[in-house]
């Protein structure tokens, strides 16, 4: 083998080894000489996480999972992470181990535990923290697809049971009743709609009235406020005393007026008694007339007298007319 061939063989070998080594390093995400920050995470279950899966912080990939191993006591799983550079993690940092998508990729996401209050992150005791060579965080693992499938299966079975019960309960009669109820609800709905439409204008008017009343009340309130303010000023200005004095004078006047009214009342009582007596006399007179006593009674009781009287009156009327027409027949006027 000549020298050129040896060089060629060496070159091919170097190329092949370099392709294998550097390609593996690149594909596994390990930097070529860049500093890495180790970080450990304790979780109860690693799920489908594998070596080389991404570590993200706020959605940005900042490292990869270097190693996954079960803790010696079997109490959890320790994830050894290698971060690209020192990232300022939140003070209450935790790790979420979850599927990155529906297609089987998993990831570790560094989060603030306070953002996920319902998750039970692995509790890192001081003893664990002391024993750990690297900084350590508590993690929480989402259930993987198999657990979700199992849960879905359980839900499906429950639904099946429920459906069978509904099937038993949902007879033709139930269906008819339900249909009837739906129709009733439709009718009620229509009635309510028409009622609302009818009452809409009334409600508008009422609203306007209420608005006006409110403004009036506001005005009254303002007036009341001004009255109170005036009262305050009255109280403050000493005018109340003069008002009270006037009220006293008015009261005494009222008392005297009341006394006069009492006297007038007594006189009025006497007047009433006199009127009573007069009415009694009139009554008696009326009784006598009705019984035909006296001239008036005869006039009322005897029609002949009435007729004569009427005749006398007629003759008197004729006489007066004749006297008016022929005064000379009855009056003789002589000056000399």
């Amino acid at each position: 083998m000549n020298r050129g061939r040896e060089v060629l063989v060496g070159a091919v070998i170097v190329l092949g080894v370099a392709a294998a080594v550097l390609g593996s390093l690149w594909l596994s995400g390990r930097g070529f000489g860049s500093p890495r920050v180790p970080l450990d995470v304790l979780v109860t279950d690693a799920g489908q996480l594998r070596d080389g899966n991404a570590v993200k912080f706020r959605g940005v990939q900042i490292g990869r999972v270097a190693l996954i191993e079960v803790e010696p006591g079997g109490a959890g799983v320790r994830l050894h992470l290698l971060l690209d550079e020192q990232n300022p993690l939140p003070p209450d940092a935790g790790a979420l181990v979850a599927a990155e998508s529906l297609f089987g990729e998993w990831q570790v996401e560094l989060v603030s535990k306070s953002d996920y209050p319902s998750f039970e992150f692995f509790t890192i005791t001081p003893a664990i923290q002391t024993a750990s060579e690297n900084p350590i965080l508590g993690g929480f693992t989402y259930p993987d697809i198999s657990r979700l499938t199992a849960a879905a299966n359980a839900i499906s079975e429950n639904l099946q049971v429920l459906t069978s019960r509904v099937d038993r309960a949902f007879t033709d009669e139930t269906a008819q009743a339900l249909s009837s109820a739906i129709r009733d609800i439709q009718i009620i709905s229509q009635t309510l709609r028409s009622l609302v439409e009818e009452q809409a204008s009334t409600i508008d008017t009422l609203t306007a009235d209420v608005r006006a009343a409110a403004s009036e009340i506001a005005g009254a309130a303002r007036a009341g406020r001004s009255t109170l303010e005036q009262a305050d000023s009255l109280f403050a200005g000493g005018e109340l005393a003069s008002i009270l004095a006037s009220l006293e004078e008015v009261s005494s006047n009222l008392a005297s007026f009341t006394g006069e009214l009492d006297g007038a009342s007594e006189e009025f009582s006497g007047l009433i008694e006199s009127a009573d007596r007069t009415f009694a006399r009139v009554d008696r007179l009326t009784e006598r007339v009705e019984s035909g006593e006296g001239l008036l009674g005869q006039l009322f009781a005897d029609s002949t007298l009435t007729d004569r009287t009427t005749g006398v009156l007629t003759e008197l009327e004729l006489l007066l007319r004749d006297l008016r027409e022929n005064p000379g027949r009855y009056v003789r006027l002589s000056i000399f």
């Binding site: 061939r5 063989v9 091919v12 070998i13 092949g16 392709a19 294998a20 390609g23 594909l27 596994s28």
Partner: protein, 210 residues
């Protein structure tokens, strides 16, 4: 090592390149509408590293290297050159077989590593040029399920393929009888048996190492 390794690189790269192209296109054809296209990278990488790179290279080299060794040693056998070596006190196994097997053991992984690199590069180029896929997407898919152990597995497997191909070729060449016709028969048998052995070994390693 030159004949076994360096001379085999072009055919190995050729096969790997077209394998990568076809894988990328077929993966996109399969995935479109159902699976995100960045999984093309995952499929190309995983398939070429774990299976197609080592096996196709091994099969190609079984035809090229195994047949070559079988024909060369068979010719030496039928022309009594091996007998001459024995008469001169040389151990023909140590002189003719062991260097070839050693070359196969060392150079097959090198050739397979280059073939894998070429296959992935071809798949990446195809994804960029023919598919609606960007480099970051392809690399994301490539890294998605990648394990360093996959590469180690491929290299271990290809080393055993190298041992098998050269060993089978040397065996049939050493046991050649009957002149030129016997050399032809030995060559054919070496290729057939080494190809079958590669497939059997592939299954064996998959069952034992994965």
């Amino acid at each position: 090592m030159s004949a076994v390794g360096v001379a085999s690189v072009p055919i190995a790269l050729f096969i790997a390149a077209f394998t990568g192209i076809v894988l990328a296109i077929q993966a996109s054809y399969t995935f479109t509408g159902t699976v995100p296209l960045y999984f093309v990278g995952a499929l190309v990488g995983k398939t070429i590293i774990l299976e197609l790179g080592p096996v196709l290279t091994g099969l190609a080299l079984s035809g090229r290297v195994g047949a070559n060794i079988a024909a060369e040693l068979g010719t030496m056998r039928v022309t009594e050159q091996i007998d001459a070596l024995e008469s001169l006190g040389y151990d023909p196994i140590a002189y003719l077989v062991v260097p070839r097997m050693l070359a196969g053991f060392l150079m097959f992984p090198v050739v397979v590593a280059l073939a894998i690199t070429m296959g992935i590069a071809a798949g990446w180029a195809t994804s960029l040029s023919l598919l609606d896929l960007s480099t970051p997407q392809f690399v994301r898919g490539l890294r998605l399920f990648f394990l360093s152990w996959d590469v180690q597995f491929a290299l271990i497997k290809s080393a055993t393929f190298g041992l098998t191909v050269t060993g089978v070729g040397a065996f049939f060449g050493f046991t050649t009888t009957g002149g030129a016709q016997g050399v032809g028969i030995a060559t054919t048998r070496a290729v057939v048996i080494s190809s079958m052995a590669i497939l059997a070994l592939d299954a064996f390693w998959a069952a034992t190492l994965l």
